[in-house]
């Protein structure tokens, strides 16, 4: 039993290390070739090695860790971590360290520790100088990993550096073609290839098909019947161009093209793993992307903002929001190995960066040199160095950064409405309980209203509204002149900012500044609650300078000039006719002309009076019961907390990158954090013949190293050989359904070569010549004839070029997951085009909710109206997704997704035909047909065609539709109404609805 040994180890002091004693007692080594040494080899060492080591290290084709122990040279040369045996210092040999099991990360053989006597044999073998009978040696191909066939491409040398993808794109001449009609530059390239293969391309698509194509392509939605009609009747030569311009200007454009980008950057709003916890405010990154596309932000700036928006000299709220890019990946909040997890986190950022911006799979070089492309491990860690100081991801709001901007906050209204609703709810609840309490109070102690001088002769102030000296009170305030009735009770000040009193500039004598105010004027409002009306009232005021104070709409005090401490003013007379039980509103206006500024107002009474809160404390339980008082207190507390969270029109939190420390990156052998190698400096992938990566001193910011800015600027430099081509290929991909390089994130040796390399180079140079103008490139591509061709079959061409490498036609495509869902909502007429804001969570069936460990956790319940918003706004929760989206191959966002699948499986059909969403939608679609087309069934059918397929039906199709409805009705014995719903469902299931020509 080996366990005996173990128990000794575990139960007593460290016994490990005892085996080292063998060194002193082992016989000093004779020559390794001596007969006795060889005999020892044959009898002891070899059988042991054969049994325990050789299987993975030399006896089989597959060699682990590049370590060959089946030859003496192999042992001395060692593997990935270094020589197995050091004959100079035998006792420090790596092999002995491994078999000693002293280090958890280095235990060999993996199946279990060798017996002590076996370890002794190997120690002796090494001590003897490695006797090894050459006859026993097993040789083989070393460097023994797979894909050796491609191995010749893994060195950075002149040949691999001239791989097409690594060379700076040169602008090619437009090819001469026979077809004199081919004028568009893109068509010159396409036609040239087609002519060389003697393929005759398809004619133009019909106007209807083209319009539908352009709409889905640019905004992800179908054109409405009216839009189709307008286009068909527009006979002007630039009718199509006008449509492109309109669509590019539409806010829906960013929602469609932003989604393509979100796929690339692994956009998700939760972290994955056990808790799949929220990434607070991740949606702001999504809105940033949508906004960037809509604003046609130049691609170079777009990339710079995402990689280094916090380091740019002209950083703003959007550029900081953009750095959320770093935070979108999976994150294990409870990793088994923290050191490794740290590198996993950085690896995710590096992979996304290199895949997305460079089209290079640098991530594959983490553990060893890239096995296919010329990317050494050193290049991986050099690239990683740019991100070395990115701070750890954290729980909750760790990654939030406050930014200030109006432009980035188009969602204010939505948030504000949400906030206000809650505030109103809480106030209503409070009012209800107060009312009940006050009625009881009135009934039981009517005298409490009457003034009753206290026994205590000393006048004691009862605070009704704290000033800054005694409490923290929230006021709503504005520094812009409000409407005239700003001091009235009913005035809605909710859109003002909220801040704690006092207001002013620090340093003003006697002030306690909690909210900075530096402008000329300020208007403030707050309220206090009364359980009964006191007989006297005083104000505690500090002002610099003139101040006017209103109570419930009445001016009760005016003070001029400035004071340097709080002063008390009796306002009993002025207030007598406006004081009321319940809510009382105090409104203050202060104006200053020079010097320091400050204003704060408190309210008190010397009456032996108790404010509502203390009355409630005193009598509440008796009058309205314990539960009600508890609720009251809870609501009060909630309201205080809630008021403090009032959304601000200009300030908000975004998920952003941050840096901490100054970390050195070392090459990690086998990607193992404990196997640290040489220190590396930030550097760009060597195969691209890059400039040296120098971090200028003035790129450093108070909080960051400036490294990411250097990386971003290199990527977006017009000298960068890969960036423009990679992005143009993606733009092309989403116009034509596939890239000119089909493997759009892998331009390496195993990527799919470009079908039109010259065209791609031309597009890349054009893109840069146009200063990275994406919308201009859309228009350029869409105005080519190639884009406008019909998708119809052609037998001759199909035989020669079945996968349409040459673009002889336009490839049909299935709608994306988002387009499917949005189109269904569109057909119903219920699609809610409200843009931006926190994500929505439309209803999910229970069977889906029950897949979570806490059933339905993290998936809220959006209102029906919210649920009808576009799919780009559906929450991307890593562990839970909507069936209709997942069934139609929405991207899995654990890693970057450059190309989506388009699978066809029966579960899709089940969902489309039986699912609740689809059947509810069919009902709504039918209702719309009845409402918009009137009672005539033929008109209903025709209208259905126009909505669902963006075209006018033929008479034959209408007749067929009517026959269908009749047939369903008769066979199923259902009403006209239901029959139309079935027809609607059928339409939404048709290939013509789901596939684009």
């Amino acid at each position: 039993m080996t366990s005996k040994r173990f128990i000794k180890v575990t139960l007593t002091a460290p016994i490990i290390g005892l085996s080292w004693l063998f060194f002193s007692i082992a016989p000093a080594g004779a020559e390794p070739t001596s007969p006795e040494a060889l005999a020892f080899w044959k009898k002891e060492a070899k059988p042991l090695l054969e049994q325990s080591c050789w299987k993975c290290h030399g006896a089989k084709e597959r060699i682990k860790g590049d370590l060959r122990l089946t030859t003496r040279d192999g042992v001395l040369k060692g593997g990935e971590i270094g020589p197995a045996v050091d004959l100079e210092k035998p006792e420090s040999s790596l092999l002995l360290k491994m078999i000693s099991y002293k280090d958890e990360d280095h235990e060999m053989p993996p199946l279990g520790k060798l017996k002590d006597e076996e370890i002794a044999i190997l120690e002796k073998w090494i001590q003897m100088g490695l006797p090894f009978d050459p006859e026993d040696e097993i040789h083989g191909k070393d460097g023994g990993h797979e894909e050796t066939a491609a191995g010749s491409n893994t060195q950075v040398n002149e040949r691999t550096m001239s791989h097409w993808a690594y060379l700076k794109p040169e602008r090619p001449e437009l090819p001469e073609v026979k077809d004199k009609n081919a004028k568009h530059p893109i068509d010159r390239f396409i036609i040239s290839k087609l002519e060389s293969k003697a393929l005759k391309p398809n004619p133009l698509a019909s106007k209807e098909a083209l319009l539908r194509r352009a709409y889905y392509n640019l905004i992800g939605l179908a054109p409405s019947p009216d839009q189709v009609k307008d286009f068909l009747s527009d006979k002007s030569p630039d009718a199509y161009e006008k449509v492109i311009d309109e669509l590019l200007a539409s806010p829906q454009y960013g929602e469609k093209w932003g989604r393509h980008w979100l796929d690339l950057v692994r956009y998700a709003e939760t972290n994955g793993y056990e808790r799949d916890s929220e990434k607070p405010n991740a949606w702001r990154y999504r809105d940033y992307v949508i906004r960037a596309f809509n604003q046609n932000k130049p691609y170079d700036r777009f990339v710079q903002e995402q990689l280094a928006g916090d380091e740019l000299p002209d950083k703003d709220a959007d550029s900081i929001t953009a750095t959320g890019f770093h935070r979108l990946g999976i994150w294990d909040d409870e990793p088994a190995d923290r050191k490794l997890a740290r590198y996993d986190y950085l690896d995710d950022i590096l992979r996304t960066t290199s895949d997305v911006f460079l089209g290079m799979t640098v991530g594959c070089a983490r553990c060893h040199d890239h096995k296919i492309d010329p990317i050494p491990t050193k290049d991986y860690y050099s690239l990683l160095s740019f991100f070395a100081n990115v701070s750890n991801h954290g729980k909750g709001g760790t990654n939030l950064v406050k930014v200030e901007s109006f432009t980035g906050n188009g969602q204010f209204q939505a948030q504000y409405d949400q906030w206000k609703k809650r505030e109103d709810d809480l106030r209503k609840q409070l009012d209800k309980i107060e009312k009940e309490f006050l009625e009881e109070l009135e009934l039981r102690q009517p005298e409490i209203k009457v003034s009753k001088p206290g026994k205590n002769t000393k006048v004691k102030q009862n605070v009704l509204l704290h000033d800054a000296r005694t409490g923290q009170v929230n006021w709503n305030y504005t520094t812009k002149k409000p409407e005239n009735h700003w001091f009235e009770i009913a005035f809605d000040d909710a859109k003002w900012e909220t801040g704690k009193a006092g207001f002013g500039a620090k340093g003003t004598p006697g002030s306690i500044v909690r909210t900075e105010w530096r402008t000329g004027e300020i208007w403030l409002r707050t309220s206090f609650r009364l359980g009964s009306v006191p007989n006297n009232l005083s104000l505690n005021v500090h002002h610099d300078e003139d101040v006017s104070i209103y109570l419930n709409g009445k001016l009760i005090k005016k003070l001029s000039g400035h004071v340097s401490k709080y002063e008390t003013h009796d306002v009993s007379k002025e207030a007598a006719d406006v004081l009321q039980t319940g809510k009382n509103v105090i409104a203050v206006h202060c104006r200053q002309t020079s010097g320091g500024q400050y204003v704060d107002v408190g309210v008190a009474t010397s009456d032996n009076y108790a404010d509502l809160a203390s009355l409630m404390r005193k009598f509440g339980r008796d009058y309205i019961g314990d539960a009600a008082v508890k609720s009251y207190r809870r609501f009060e507390k909630d309201l205080t907390n809630h008021s403090a969270q009032k959304p601000s029109a200009s300030k908000y939190d975004v998920m952003a990158v941050a840096e901490s420390g100054n970390h050195v990156i070392k090459v990690l052998r086998r990607g193992n954090p404990v196997l640290e190698g040489d220190v590396v400096q930030p550097a760009f992938p060597s195969v691209l013949r890059p400039p040296e990566a120098i971090i200028p001193d003035d790129y450093k910011t108070p909080r960051t190293s400036g490294r990411r800015r250097v990386l971003a600027e290199w990527i977006t430099s017009k000298k960068n050989p890969v960036s423009a081509r990679v992005m143009m290929n993606r733009v092309w991909q989403h116009h034509f359904g596939r890239g000119i390089v089909r493997s759009t994130s892998d331009f390496g040796f195993q990527g799919v070569p470009p079908t039109h390399p010259d065209l791609l180079n031309w597009l890349a140079t054009e893109f840069m010549a146009k200063d990275w103008d994406i919308k201009a490139m859309h228009k350029l591509i869409m105005t080519s004839v190639a884009y406008q061709r019909s998708s119809a079959p052609n037998k001759v061409n199909f035989e020669k070029d079945p996968i349409n490498d040459l673009f002889w036609r336009f490839d049909m495509r299935r709608l994306t997951a988002e387009e499917v869902r949005d189109s269904v909502l569109g057909a119903c007429g219920t699609l809610n085009l409200k843009p931006g804001g926190p994500s929505i969570t439309p209803p999910l069936p229970r069977i889906v909710l029950a897949t979570a460990s806490r059933i339905g956790a993290g998936w809220g319940k959006s209102s029906p109206e919210e649920s009808n918003r576009r799919s780009v706004y559906v929450k991307v929760k890593r562990s839970m997704q909507m069936p209709i989206l997942i069934n139609h191959d929405m991207a899995d966002m654990d890693t970057s997704c450059p190309v989506r699948f388009a699978t066809t499986v029966p579960t899709q059909s089940l969902n489309m035909l039986n699912g609740k969403f689809m059947n509810d939608s069919a009902k709504l679609f039918a209702k719309r047909l009845r409402e918009e087309a009137g009672p005539d069934p033929a008109a209903q059918v025709a209208h259905g065609f126009k909505i669902a397929f963006s075209r006018n039906p033929t008479d034959k199709e209408i007749a067929a539709g009517l026959a269908m409805i009749k047939d369903i009705k008769e066979k199923a014995g259902i009403s006209d109404e239901v029959a139309l719903e079935r027809f609607a469902l059928l339409a939404l299931n048709l290939n013509e609805f789901i596939y684009l020509d």
Partner: protein, 488 residues
């Protein structure tokens, strides 16, 4: 040996890749099959349809398979090996003593802890005389068909990553699960049922939910389908608005007609045809799935065998019986979760070990034994592989100052396999005398995965999928060999 499938890495396979991405990874085999059935009216069209491969169409294994299907009984939360199948006589007398022992669990790494002696007695069972604790008397009666692996190791003692490791071979999220690999490698022989089904505990899914049966970077067609043991078994199998079957057939007929008209002008687009076919398959699935899950038709003695008799064993018993019926109908991979939600709703016995394990073992023991016996009496055990275990085991020592709760242990734990080419009545590997860590024949989770793939006729080191610049494998770039000692 066959080359690994779908590697656009190998130049030869590039075309295959092209089909997979963007252009439609269509299940054209569906169309192909239906074309052969004379489903398509036009002969020319049928001809166009032939010759394409459904992602889920049956594929040949790399070599002759021992097992056709896998039933993975996932004891979520991590059952304690020293209290179930890994007998540690020397642990009993140490109860309450604080000793030096290296552990790593939820509570971090420790060198010293208080021993919790095993709480159950062990008895000898079967010809092989295997010692099994009183928690599993029924499983005990099956030990001659079971091979125990006592020396499992995993990379993480934390549920989140450990679940992903056991299900998908990696600590990081985003990789395809074992069932996805099996469906990718072998396809499904019954197109009327999903090829990979998952049955969850009624208290909820395991942590990370659907990530545990995700197809990761592979197409969604390979992901697991959640199967309910009661009510409508699969999402949207029944029409949500109560449409009856005749009505549905009528609609489908019209759908097909219109689609065919559409297709006739686009006859070379196989994706369209596949979509037409998928509706017919869905229709067939609607007919066959309810039959497949209708266990009421099973005779009483069979139900009794699984413990379906209104008692606490009924729930897991139904699932086990369903698993048999699924396998019978060609489903490749069935996973059943014992335990869901958090804490004591699963095997995660941090507090009261006795209460926790008595509950979960009591719910499952009879059903599991019933499954083995039922498969055996039907001659199905020889080609059905059963795998039992959790994402890790538990420590021999206490987590807290008081109580019997044990923390997680990935240094050493037990899993067992039965049927499908497994040698019965054996135990391989050992933990130390405390059960704290595997010491002899340590087998990493990857070795278990390699064994499962191997028994299904798939070479674990050849089954690969090209993604992100690399040929990915379930067993990782380093590869892993099956555990020879387990093979019959």
């Amino acid at each position: 040996m066959k080359k690994p499938q779908n590697t656009f890495c190998g130049q030869v396979h590039r075309r295959e890749f092209l089909k997979d991405l963007g252009g439609g990874f269509a299940s054209l085999g569906l169309a192909g099959m239906l074309a052969q059935d004379g489903f398509f009216q036009s002969k020319a069209m049928a001809k166009e349809m032939a010759g394409f491969v459904n992602p889920l169409a049956p594929k040949d294994p790399h070599y002759k398979a021992k097992a056709k299907s896998v039933i993975f009984l996932f004891m979520y939360g991590g059952p304690s090996h020293v209290d179930t199948f890994d007998y540690k006589p020397k642990l009993y007398p140490l109860d309450g003593k604080t000793i030096n022992v290296k552990t790593f669990g939820r509570g971090g790494k420790r060198n010293k802890s208080r021993v919790v002696g095993p709480k159950w007695k062990f008895k000898e069972y079967g010809q092989c005389g295997k010692l099994v604790s009183d928690l599993f008397p029924n499983v005990g009666s099956c030990v001659d068909d079971i091979a125990f692996v006592h020396s499992m190791t995993a990379d993480s003692p934390i549920h989140g990553s450990a679940m992903l490791m056991m299900n998908a071979g990696h600590l990081l999220s985003g990789h395809p699960s074992l069932g996805s690999w099996v469906n990718y490698g072998l396809g499904s022989v019954n197109e009327n049922l999903p090829g990979y089904v998952v049955m969850l505990d009624k208290t909820g899914g395991p942590i990370s939910g659907a990530k545990n049966w995700s197809s990761g970077y592979m197409p969604a067609s390979y992901q697991g389908t959640v199967l309910r043991s009661q009510g409508s078994p699969i999402l949207d199998l029944e029409n949500s608005h109560g449409m009856n079957r005749l009505e549905q057939r009528t609609i489908l007929d019209h759908l097909r007609n219109v689609n065919e008209g559409h297709l006739s002008e686009r006859y070379d687009n196989t994706n369209l045809a596949a979509r037409v076919a998928s509706y017919e398959l869905a229709y067939k699935m609607q007919a066959s799935a309810p039959e497949a899950v209708d266990i009421d038709k099973e005779p009483d003695h069979v139900k009794k065998l699984y413990g379906i008799e209104g008692s606490r064993t009924e729930d897991f018993g139904r699932k086990c019986l369903l698993a048999r019926r699924m396998v019978e109908r060609g489903v490749r991979f069935v996973q059943i979760y014992s335990g869901g939600n958090h804490n004591d709703a699963n095997w995660d016995a941090h507090g009261d070990l006795v209460k926790n394990h008595t509950y979960h073992a009591g719910n499952t023991d009879k059903a599991i034994a019933g499954l083995i016996k039922d498969l055996k009496q039907r001659g199905m055990l020889e080609d059905t592989l059963i795998v039992w275990g959790g994402e890790f085991g538990r420590q021999p020592t206490a987590e807290y100052a008081k109580g019997t709760g044990r923390d997680h242990n990935s240094y050493g734990f037990t899993m067992w396999l039965a049927g499908g080419g497994i040698k019965g009545g054996i135990s391989v590997g050992e933990t130390d005398e405390l059960g704290a860590a595997a010491v002899t024949d340590r087998f990493h989770v990857k070795r278990l995965h390699a064994t499962i793939l191997h028994l299904l006729g798939l070479d674990p080191n050849a089954l690969s999928y090209f993604y992100g610049g690399l040929n990915r494998r379930l067993v990782g770039v380093e590869g892993a060999e099956p555990i020879d000692k387990l093979l019959a």
